[in-house]
Structure formats: C-alpha cells, structure tokens
Amino acid sequence: MDYILQGFREAINLLITLDREVLRIVLLSIIVSTSATVFASIISIPIGVYLGIKKFKGKRLFSRITYTMMSIPSVIVGLVVAIILSRRGPFGFLDMLYTPKAMIIAQTLLVMPLNFGLTYGLSKSRGEAIEKVAFTLGANKWQSVVLIIRELNVDILVNIATAFSRAISEVGAVMIVGGNIKGHTRVITTTISMMNSMGDYPMAIALGLVLLLISFVIHSIIYSYSQED
C-alpha cells in the first residue's frame, strides 16, 4: 500500500512543481489529439450529416459497416499507417514515421470513423425533420447540411468530445507510429504504459491524473454549453 501512496505524493509533487518532462508530454498529447480531432471532424461531420439525410441504395449495409468501423482497434490503424509511412511503403519518401505528424495521421484515421458514425446516426434520426423544413424554405442540399449542423450543434459537440477522448486515451496507434521517443513523440498514454512496465509509478500516476483532468474540463465545457443552449 505504501508504494501507492508514495506514488500519489510524488505525482502531486510533479504536477505542482510543473515538471518540464510532464508538461512536454501533456502538451504534445493535447496538440496531437486536438489536431487529429479537428481534421477528423472537418471531414467526417459534413459528410456524416449529408449521408445521414440522403436516401441511397444499400444504406442499411452502409450503416452496418459504418457502425462496425467505429470500434476499429487502434493497433490496426497504427499498423496500417506505419506500413504506409515506413521507408519501403508508398509514402516512405515523406520520412514521417516516428514523428508527431505520423501520430496525428494515425489518430485522425482512428477517430474519423467514430466521429463519422456518431454524426451519421444523429443525422439519420434527427436530421430528416430539419432537412424537410429547410427544403420547403428553399435551401439546397448543402445549405440543409449547414443548417442541420447548427441545429444539432450540442450533440455534434458531444460527438467531437467523444472522438477527442478516444484520441487522447488511445495508446496502440501512437505507440506504433510514434515510437515513444523521449522529447519527440512521447505522449501521456505511451509514457504511462512505459512507466508501468518500468515500475515507475509517480510519473504514471501524475499523467493519469492529467488525463482525467483534461477529460473533466472538456466535458464540463460541453455540459455548460448545452445547459445554456
């Protein structure tokens, strides 16, 4: 029991003294996961809303595939990105493997199906009524998509937060494509995983607390926004 309490004490100390190593890791985690969530959202939200309201052949099968892709394992995404970016891969000339850019690409591909699936499902269930009104008022398809995004903004924000939570808490993809290089590609989850295997708990606990804090802050902001709305 003592080593756990000791671990917590040292973790709090690391956070209070704003340990440079901890700060660097936290900052990189936030940059990588925020960028990935933003890129994924820009692509998946308009397309998700559009396809959600569009009637097309095979929509049922498409929905099933979409929902399956939402739970794609992060190591698979990491592996695919690593193969593509590896020196012998089709994009090897970009020399991006083991860089934060590769981590952003991997996390974008990881959270895109999740963000897309959630938005698509939301638009399929609630977008039709909005589109119907938009159509009768003279809006074209893309004006309807914009209107649906505005009308369902709180739900879409919750979807974005869910995608961000997945990005910042995953370890498989960033470990494979980032390599957990100290001072370069080390992020919260890869550090926790490494510290745990080394038995160095204070740093792991400190980063775990930061991870919880980030999640708390994001969801508090969304909660207060939804209350205002």
């Binding site: 009524a129 119907k132 009104v133 159509f135 009768t136 008022l137 003279g138 074209n140 209107l147």
Partner: protein
C-alpha cells in the same frame, strides 16, 4: 402558380393511398382539401411540395416540371412546425438569407410580417420554446416573408387557440389577396375550408 395533376397514384406497399385521374389547382386561388383521416390529404400535399417523390403520374407547375426555381417559389407550413433553435427573428430571416436578400430589405420584410401576425413581442425569444399557437404564427411568418407563389398548408390551425386561428386565417386571406399567391390548405375542418377556400376538394 397553377398545379396540374394527371394520373397520380401513390402506394404504401400494396395499399393504394392516392388515385387521382386529373386535378387542377387554380392559380391565385385558395383551394381547400378536406377528408377523413388517412384519405391521403397530407400525402398529396407532400407530393405537391416535392417532399415525396415516390409516386406514379405527372405533376406540373405552371406547365413545368418541378425544378429549383419552382422549389424556391413555394413553401409548406406543417401541422407541427419545426422552428430552429434560434430567435423568432432569425427563424423568419432564414428563407430571406438563403435567397441573398440585402440586410435592410430583409429587416423591413421581417418587421412587416411579424407586425401582421401580431408577434412583435416575440421577436427576440427563442423560437423552439414558444407555445403551439405562437409557433404556428412564426411558422406562417417564416413562410410568408419571402412572398411565395405557392403556399401549402397542412392542418395549420389544429390544436391551437381560437385567437391564433383568427390571426392565421386572416393572414392567409390577406396573403392571397395582396400577392395573388396560390394557397392549398389541407384540413379536416370543413368549416375552415368554407371560410377560406374558393374551391373545396373532398377526398
């Protein structure tokens, strides 16, 4: 806008909902469509509005097939209107905004419309939080503000208070008289059809 319907058939599965050999809705007139529940009144309105495209037959609008220009010149008010999660003003502003009307003209049109419908006091209120009667007035204001050539109304006064019904009926009549816009009103209320319509179609 004149609407001509020829050999219209609509099925839900095996069940035939609509079978209209020929029907003309006259330009500039108010046409009431009445009938019991389930006779296909709303389905017909949705087909005319372009919301339901799965039917057999031919519909023309001033002799032309439904296109973007026609869609831009008609609108529908539903029995349970969906108002955007914005202010009343912004709701009424929407159809003008997507038509690229300039700000000052837009403001004049909106203020005139809300004055006619006696909802000036609601201008800055969140529209989705209004009562049934108020919501229906805002939905009608949003439909009338851009002066459509064809106004389609689906049970616009069901479940609302008598004062609101009076205002809505007055504004529908005024719209028809002042702009010459064609109005199609679907209602199970025969008395209302008699009060408003130049012609009543019983289904």
């Amino acid at each position: 806008m004149e609407i001509r319907i020829e050999n219209l058939e609509k099925y839900y599965g095996e069940r035939k909902i609509l079978d209209i050999k020929e029907l003309t809705i006259e330009k500039g007139k108010i046409t009431g469509i009445t009938g019991p529940n389930g006779c296909g009144k709303t389905t017909l309105l949705n087909i005319i509005a372009g919301l339901d495209k799965e039917y057999i037959g031919k519909i023309t609008y001033d002799g032309a097939k439904l296109d973007r220009n026609i869609i831009n010149n008609m609108t529908t008010v539903f029995q349970k209107p969906y108002l955007f999660k914005r202010t009343v003003y912004e709701n009424i502003e929407y159809p003008l905004k997507i038509r690229g009307i300039n700000k000052s003209e837009m403001n004049t049109l909106i203020l005139n419309t809300i004055k006619s419908l006696e909802v000036e006091n609601l201008k800055d209120k969140k529209a989705h939080l209004l009562s049934g009667g108020e919501s229906q007035k805002i939905a009608l204001a949003r439909a009338l503000v851009f002066r459509p050539q064809l106004l389609l109304l689906d049970e616009p006064t069901s479940n609302i208070d008598p004062e609101s019904i009076e205002v809505l009926e007055r504004e529908i009549l005024r719209f028809n008289e002042e702009t010459g816009g064609t109005v199609v009103i679907v209602t199970h209320n025969l008395e209302q059809s008699k009060r408003l319509a130049h012609r009543i179609i019983e289904m």
